[in-house]
């Protein structure tokens, strides 16, 4: 476990504390785009990703994202309920088309994500170092694993149905089979400490089957997630299939959990202490729910093969059983 992961959850960091820290009292930030020359770097504005576009939050507000040593990395959008509403609308619009793509096509698009991430390995590695406070070697492993995870799930697109589906030998003259279908719009509360690999490990199994996702990024470490959306935007993933909101969890999670047009919620990255309250909100439209592990997601070894499974795809699919008589 990296020291960064043990640091107190950002949800507990007060806004007051953030305000108190000014640019003057800190070291230069690692992402401040200085390349050793006199040239002043061009910084990136980290924005939301909704419906294939990169809007700023409707709140017009931001929060400071700090590295593990408390240095400013960037301002991130402080997303709101309305941003989630916009994301839900975009996801609902994108869902039927994405679900109707052939499995082969979804497979190639997920593979394309891996291809484009590969070309940005340096950028992701730098951002993971900055976000998680890990060394270059470990960051490289984490980024490599994230890319490989897309490749792994890409291969499942046209196979999971053969694992999770069945032909049922009913007692009668009927042809009967059960097929998995995507659940619809699925909310994802990304793991808080694993900024990139944790997110990819949860997101890939949601979208590979044809679901559309609304992601609440890690609060303290959202920047690699935002960069991932830039990859998604250029990987032939249709706009709206993945939507990303950054911001303060205490202002966002309940609105995602309670949204009546969201069909599922992966709360694996949620603070388990909040589990009951969030789960109650999710009940209102009978959301499919993945609960946080008892010890929280910070302790998960995301590099392990155990962090990938076709049964994770199964968390957000519906089984449809079809009957037809056999006869002349």
């Amino acid at each position: 476990m990296s020291p960064a992961a043990r640091r107190p959850a950002a949800a507990k960091t007060t806004t007051a504390r953030r305000r108190a820290s000014t640019l003057d009292d800190r070291q230069p930030a690692p992402l401040a785009a200085t390349d050793g020359t006199d040239r002043l770097g061009v910084r990136k504005t980290y924005k939301l990703y909704i419906g294939g576009e990169f809007p700023r939050t409707e709140s017009g507000r931001a929060y400071e994202v700090l590295d593990v040593r408390g240095r400013l990395l960037a301002n991130a959008c402080r997303g709101t309920r309305k941003d989630i509403r916009d994301a839900a609308r975009a996801a609902r619009k994108a869902f039927p088309g994405w679900a109707a793509r052939t499995a082969y096509n979804r497979s190639q698009i997920l593979y394309r994500i891996a291809e484009l991430m590969e070309g940005r390995r340096e950028q992701f590695t730098g951002e993971v170092i900055a976000a998680e406070g890990v060394g270059r070697q470990r960051a490289t492993r984490l980024v490599n694993a994230a890319i490989d995870r897309w490749v792994w799930y890409a291969g499942w697109a046209d196979k999971y149905g053969q694992i999770l589906g069945t032909v049922n030998p009913v007692n009668g003259s009927y042809f009967n089979f059960s097929v998995p279908e995507p659940t619809g719009v699925v909310g994802l509360i990304a793991p808080e400490s694993s900024s990139l690999l944790g997110l990819v490990s949860r997101l890939a199994p949601i979208i590979v089957s044809g679901n559309a996702a609304i992601v609440i990024a890690s609060e303290a470490r959202p920047l690699p997630a935002v960069t991932l959306t830039e990859v998604l935007a250029t990987s032939d993933v249709p706009g709206g299939v993945v939507n990303l909101i950054t911001g303060l969890r205490r202002e966002l999670v309940q609105h995602l959990a309670g949204h009546m047009d969201v069909n599922g919620l992966d709360a694996f990255g949620l603070d388990p202490a909040q589990g009951a309250a969030i789960e109650e909100l999710a009940v209102e439209n009978v959301k499919r729910l993945v609960r946080p592990p008892a010890s929280g997601s910070d302790e998960v070894d995301w590099l392990s093969q155990r962090s990938q499974s076709p049964y994770l795809i199964g968390e957000f699919v519906e089984t449809k059983t079809v009957w037809h008589p056999i006869g002349a």
Partner: protein
Amino acid sequence: MSLTKKPETRPAAASWGMSARGKVPWEYAPAPESTDHITIRPEYGLFIDNEFKPSRPKATFTVINPATEEPLAKVARASRADVGRAVTAARRAYKTTWSRLPGSERAKYLYRIARILQERSREFAVLETMNSGKPIKESRDVDVPLAAAHFFYYAGWADKLDYAFPGRTPRPLGVAAQVIPWNFPLMMLAWKIAPALAAGNTVILKPASTTPLTAYLFADVVRQADLPPGVVNIITGPGEIGMELVTHPDVNKVAFTGSTAVGKMIARAVSGSHKKLTLELGGKAANIVFDDAPLDQAIEGIINGIYFNQGEVCCAGSRLFAQESVYEPLLDKLKARLSTLRVGDPLDKNTDVGAINSAGQLAKVQELVQSGIEEGAEIFQPDCVLPDKGFFFRPTLFTGVSQSHRIAQEEIFGPVLSVLTFRTPEEAIEKANNTPYGLSAGVWTEKGSRIFKMVNAMRAGVVWANTFNRFDPTSPFGGYKESGYGREGGLHGLGAYLDLSPNETNGRNGR
């Protein structure tokens, strides 16, 4: 196109020798099923540790026959402490016997149960009909055989769990709390208990308050099968007791079948726990008939879809969508067929539609039918004579129904069909999916590619194409959206009773 022609001037009903709204011109002789071989005890205790025990403090309530309103027996009303006793018994049995048995031994117990249900099938069928009001031909030909088949199917899984989920080593969950409804009392019992025991769990089942008698007769099957004490426990009481049961901290798995409203209450109550939960909730199924459908078969499917078990079926085809070009001939045939349904004594072997399960349910059906009339839909009911006593309701259909009517939106759970129309497949899809429910759907057309288009587009867990209301233990059943989650039946139904998280050999983390 011949299918779009005007309906024949002679109503189709003429072929049965009656007018569309006419009475059957002959009398049927009564054909009552004998009840003299049925023993109902005056009073039933709670079935815990293979013994009937009075509730503590002792309290009972009366169970009646909904077709006669006569009392059948008194059953124990469990207290909170009784729930605790039942959970303790189930936990002890889980620890000391059931989870330690080899799967092959669990399998043999389940095969025994299946066989005993088959041997005593008529006894179960008659008692089921007396207690629930469903026609004897249904309890005899559907409920009881399917219950036995369910045990037989899951018996075979008990020693094959290692082959069921590639890459995983399945483990039982522990103690399962199961709450079931009154519409298929024995069949729901089998759907719940068979996979739970096959997977190695022990159970506490709470049948519905109005229909506990076949569950308590099943207790005698448990005795005959020599099942170890505490493996199957059955308790009765009102909804609060069901809630006590599912929220008990020593319960690991909760399975509920019933209304969406109660399902949500249960889901809220177990929020934040690590109980595995499956819900099979309400429905408002669309039954879609295209103009190229085999009409006579479709008529039988529509009738079976909504009047089977008095329409008290979560997956009932309660919304008929008729393509406009076939609407008139379809409706004529439907009204004629409706007029031939025999409504009355559930124990009569010729009865098609029996009694509504309770006065409360009858009032709910009446209220919703009244709303249909008030909202402007046109009602049709055949002229049939209803018995003087008992909770009976005429098979009913409404035409001129719009999507916004309550009878098109709410689950009625009674013999009431709402007829709507559509022009194009896209319109049918849009209307059929326009509901928070998603349990089942039906499609009638002779065109194969259209069947698959419709099947793919239905947001529902079971889709019957050119048939309706078929069930089988090998066939997963369950809902999309607010009709619940998890499946019962088949391999999927087995997974609902197993811990499939990665274990030491295939991982501690992740899922």
